[in-house]
């Protein structure tokens, strides 16, 4: 039975960050990192900086416009030394020199603005943002770190590399599912929740808890797994949604266990739940339509879940492109049967040339 695998493959391709964005994400952060590492008035500590966030987690969707990186400084977070809000201001002051420095490299129109826990650098011409997050990393980036909160004027604990590792472990345990479901969920949010969006980190927290702690398994084809995931999240949060005292979820950080959704307002939470409910029902109808053999109806319903611009009606051209890359004699096959355009391991075997033979004999 057609599981709409190719439709979902094309959907996932369509929500990938476009090439020019990926190029910007490769080219621009090193320039800013290098600038800061060499800045006299903003001393940093080796190993100085590290890429983090959804781009580094390989969970970016759509027009990825920002990349996050950590910049390491010396200090004692529990003594608020350096003072959290002062550090953000110092970082901003240092980065205010960036436009002039980059102008020499041909990058005009760079704007720098301070935020609560970071400084944004906006490359206007490329419409690309960098989020520079200062941190104190007493035991290096691989262990929990501290980031300054300008609003509260203290340092908060965080473990972004732990999250990256957790994502990698989850993907290894659920290959082809964890990251794809994470990206589909973000895209679903982007399509349906344009205002008061839940933060990407909350969605990732929900996802990690579902797989790691709540027994969620994505054994079904990707569409069905997505429907099950939305249902899982809805049911998990339903008791809070059903309360009448303005309660909101307190999502526990998957690494450090503290509350990461403390500022999720009730109206925004209710909007999220309404969208989740509609999404899970529509997804279930799409799955049922496919089970009943009504592919056209299933495609229509999935287009309402993911957007007509992203979920394709016809996949023939897409399939031709994919098929052209794996004609016998060219691809490799892994011991799981996975067909690969190129070998990724010494265990992968080249698929020899052949010609498949015969029409079905009736």
């Amino acid at each position: 039975m057609n599981s709409l695998r190719l439709h979902f493959e094309e959907l996932l391709d369509n929500i990938q960050p476009p090439e020019h964005r990926r190029a910007a994400a490769e080219a621009l952060p090193p320039k800013v990192r290098s600038f800061l590492e060499n800045h006299e008035d903003f001393p940093t500590l080796a190993p100085h900086s590290r890429l983090v966030g959804s781009y580094r987690q390989h969970l970016s969707v759509g027009d990825v416009k920002d990349v996050d990186f950590l910049i390491r400084v010396d200090g004692d977070p529990e003594e608020n030394d350096p003072e959290a809000k002062s550090l953000i201001r110092s970082l901003k002051a240092a980065l205010d020199d960036l436009p002039e420095s980059l102008d020499l490299d041909g990058y005009a129109d760079v704007s720098v603005t301070g935020a609560r826990r970071s400084v944004h650098v906006h490359f206007l011409f490329e419409d690309f943002h960098l989020d520079v997050v200062p941190c104190i990393a007493p035991d290096g980036f691989e262990q929990p770190i501290w980031v300054p909160d300008k609003g509260f004027n203290y340092w908060v604990e965080s473990h972004p590399l732990g999250v990256i590792q957790a994502v990698e472990e989850m993907e290894k345990a659920h290959p082809g599912k964890f990251r794809h479901l994470g990206r589909l969920l973000k895209h679903f949010r982007n399509i349906h929740m344009r205002r008061s969006q839940p933060k990407s980190y909350w969605l990732l927290t929900l996802l990690i808890h579902a797989f790691r702690d709540e027994g969620f398994e994505a054994n079904a084809p990707i569409g069905e797994s997505f429907a099950e995931l939305l249902d899982h999240h809805y049911r998990r949060l339903a008791p809070i949604y059903g309360r009448t005292d303005g309660a909101t979820p307190h999502l526990r950080d998957p690494m450090l266990d503290h509350d990461v959704s403390w500022n999720w307002g009730r109206p925004a939470f209710e909007s999220f739940m309404r969208n989740l409910d509609e999404g899970r029902k529509r997804s279930e109808r799409a799955v049922n339509a496919l089970d009943a053999g009504d592919i056209d109806r299933a495609v229509q319903l999935w287009q309402r879940v993911f957007g007509e611009d992203y979920f394709p009606t016809d996949v023939t051209d897409f399939a031709r492109t994919k098929a052209a890359a794996v004609q016998p004699g060219m691809p490799f096959v892994a011991p799981t049967g996975l067909i690969l355009p190129s070998a990724t391991s010494p265990r992968d075997l080249r698929v020899p040339t052949t010609t498949y033979y015969g029409d079905t004999v009736e």
Binding site: M1, P328, P352, T354, Y357, T360, V361
Partner: protein
């Protein structure tokens, strides 16, 4: 048979064998794409006959191209290639089966077999 067993064990460790020195059947899973289902597959080999590969589940659409009437997969064109005892299941039959499933999923979605194809009628390669 010992050579076949050795190569299957080392290259396709997920496949389990039953049988004897003359006839063996291997059962395992092939998943041609990360978004695909994992197909339960059996490979039956009786020396010196050509091996037969069947997909046990999920059920293959009986209208799919490149299936024999006994539901085994047509993996090669006899005018181009033939089986003999020195061929290795692990190096040819299993890889072709995985790729067959890849093209099968494309056929399900588009109605076209997008791999190289030769019909039963003697008209040559398409």
């Amino acid at each position: 048979m010992a050579v076949q067993v050795f190569h299957m064990r080392s290259k396709w460790p997920g496949f389990r064998r039953s049988g004897d020195a003359k006839t063996s059947t291997w059962h395992g899973k092939l998943q041609p794409h990360e978004l695909s289902s994992a197909y339960d597959v059996s490979v039956q080999y009786t020396i010196p006959k050509p091996p037969k590969v069947r997909v046990l589940s999920p059920l293959i659409d009986p209208k799919a191209p490149h299936l024999f009437s006994d539901k085994s997969l047509c993996l090669y064109w006899p005018e181009e290639w033939s089986w003999h005892a020195h061929r290795l299941l692990a190096d040819a039959v299993l890889p072709w089966s995985a790729l067959w499933l890849y093209f099968y999923e494309i056929w399900l979605a588009t109605g076209e077999w997008m791999g190289p194809s030769a019909p039963h009628a003697p008209q040559g390669k398409e």
